[in-house]
């Protein structure tokens, strides 16, 4: 086995048994990046030099015989919407092309404290808005399974980096499926935790009531390790919560009840995807798991609800990129680098900076959000959507009275071709149809590789009760071994 294909535990064992050094481990990944990243284009910024000096420090600890944490020396890639101190952080937007992160996000700090080595920052759709990584302000990322196809999005660079063995694991963020859908397209594991379980401090806000950070890994065990490392209440994020203590009993397969929502097997789903997911469900049934058909009656309204609430929050969160405080600015100064692009008034500074800095998808969503919040439309759109959100939450609450977890496809199709959906925003939005409900309801969900259609991966989504990441991780591990 190549070193780039190791699991976290195997890599850790190799390091402490001195089968290879941290520097050697990082070298293997940096060579791989050098060779493959030109094709895959997973990274926006590389951090290789720092990674080596960090690796040397870990090696010194090992040589001195010190006990090192499980994640020490393990290489990681971080989605470029999460701050890593003193490294450029762009959210794949031209408006932040030269922005240097002034501090570490809490999840990054937690990983650094364990000794994780950061290889670089990964590409994404601008400000996490998109499902293909084609809306990056810089360049698209390609799917390692088929370079003509998208890796999914918005955490497409992170998923492609893990799938292409350019990093051992990665962090992504998920507002409507942005960890799970690319994990599905790239054949890797992606977890969106319960809302609030991972601190959002240092994550550039897209839609604050929906955003969550989570791991993208090759195995469910790796996913669990990274999740354990980054979760926890944080005084810097007032919406973060500690996972309430849940009895950590081992799942008994024969007692397990798994729901399959009839509304998720709809027209428009790829036949191959349906076949793979149904065969996954049969595999659980053969183990003695009780499979129960459930109903989530408001499913058909989830996407519309999501596009109102999310864009409303986007329009307010992205107001901060105004050319005054940081990032691109059309203010006439020597420092801004626009000696001739002067604006007459403050309003001009806003208009010109935001026109030049934001891509089309960002502008589309900002305008839609502004519209649904504007006078005369607030009640018809925004308030109504918040009420439907309540109904969607209740659907899940009711279903979880009879089941322990829910199985669905992660996405209705495997990875599509670059350019296939870029011209029609609404078609692109439909790739999130199975994932957005979890963000609206705040539930945890994991996408696990379930099979291939013509060499293209398909993911199975396992949905859990709030704060029961433990349950879906265990179910994911069982499924991995089938």
């Amino acid at each position: 086995m190549e070193l780039t294909e190791l699991t976290i535990k195997k890599a850790h064992e190799g390091l402490i048994k001195k089968e290879f050094s941290t520097v050697e481990l990082i070298k293997v990944f940096s060579d791989k990046i050098e060779k493959e990243n030109k094709k895959i284009a997973a990274f926006l910024t590389l951090n290789i030099e720092n990674a080596f000096s960090h690796a040397k420090k870990i090696d010194e600890l090992i040589l001195r015989g010190q006990k090192i944490p499980l994640l020490a020396g393990i290489p990681a890639a971080i989605k470029d919407i999460i701050l890593v101190e003193n490294i450029r952080c762009t959210a794949a937007s031209k408006i932040l092309k030269n922005y240097i992160a002034p501090y570490d996000a809490t999840c990054v700090k937690k990983l650094k404290n364990q000794g994780v080595v950061i290889l670089g920052k990964t590409n994404m759709d601008e400000f996490a808005m998109g499902s293909s990584t084609e809306h990056s302000g810089f360049f698209p990322t390609r799917n390692p399974h088929d370079l003509e196809r998208v890796p999914g999005g918005s955490s497409g660079g992170s998923a492609a980096a893990v799938a292409g063995n350019l990093s051992l694991f990665a962090l992504g963020s998920d507002t409507g499926g942005s960890i799970r859908q690319p994990a599905s397209f790239c054949g890797v594991v992606g977890l969106k935790p319960t809302y609030g379980v991972v601190s959002r401090y240092g994550l550039m806000a897209m839609a604050s009531s929906l955003d969550q950070i989570g791991p993208i890994t090759r195995t469910v065990e790796d996913c669990e390790i990274v999740f354990e490392a980054i979760r926890g209440k944080d005084e810097m994020d007032s919406t973060s919560v500690e996972i309430p203590e849940i009895e950590n009993h081992k799942l008994k397969i024969e007692n397990l009840r798994i729901g399959v929502p009839k509304e998720y097997f709809i027209k428009g789903m790829d036949d191959g995807v349906e076949k793979i997911i149904k065969s996954a469900i049969r595999k659980f049934e053969k183990l003695g798991v009780k499979i129960i058909e459930i109903s989530l009656p408001h499913t058909e309204y989830a996407l519309a609800t999501y596009y109102i609430i999310m864009t409303a929050e986007v329009s307010s969160n992205l107001a901060r990129y105004d050319g005054i405080k940081y990032g691109l600015s059309k203010v006439k100064t020597q420092k801004s680098g626009y000696p001739l692009g002067g604006c007459k008034s403050l309003l001009d500074v806003y208009l010109k900076t935001r026109e030049e800095g934001f891509g089309d998808e960002a502008r589309r969503r900002i305008m839609l959000g502004t519209y649904v919040l504007s006078a005369g439309y607030y009640e018809a759109y925004y308030l109504r959507a918040q009420k439907v959100r309540t109904l969607i939450r209740e659907d899940f609450k009711n279903a979880f009275q009879t089941v322990d977890a829910i199985l669905t496809p992660t996405s209705p199709t495997p990875a599509f071709k670059l350019g296939e959906k870029i011209e029609d925003p609404l078609t692109m939005y439909l790739s999130d149809i199975f994932t957005v409900s979890l963000n609206l309801a705040g539930l945890p969900g994991i996408s696990v590789p379930a099979g291939l259609i013509d060499d293209l991966p398909v993911g199975l989504q396992i949905i859990g009760k709030p704060f029961q990441e433990n349950t879906i991780l265990q179910i994911g591990k069982i499924f991995e071994k089938l």
Binding site: G196, L303, F358, R364, M367, T370, Y429, P466
Partner: protein, 95 residues
Amino acid sequence: MITKRDVQHVAKLARLGLTEREAKKFQKELSKILDFIERLKEVDILKVEPTSHSIKVENIMREDRVKIEGLEVRKKLVEMAPEEKGGYVRVKAIL
């Protein structure tokens, strides 16, 4: 349906510069998305309370105290502004 004037109005509210051609393009695209979200009108929401967060959120208070360790970050933050003066961010006159 959203008119081109609506688009231009919303763009101004959102402080987004827009060319004529772009206004036309966004009018088409936004109309299509708005048609799609119209379907929420079918849902009976008469007795339903709105949800803003999936978890219960409360105001969290802390002591109003200057953090010494924050001074370095403060310096970094101010230095990022295109125009600064004496430790403050400078902007054009508003009135």
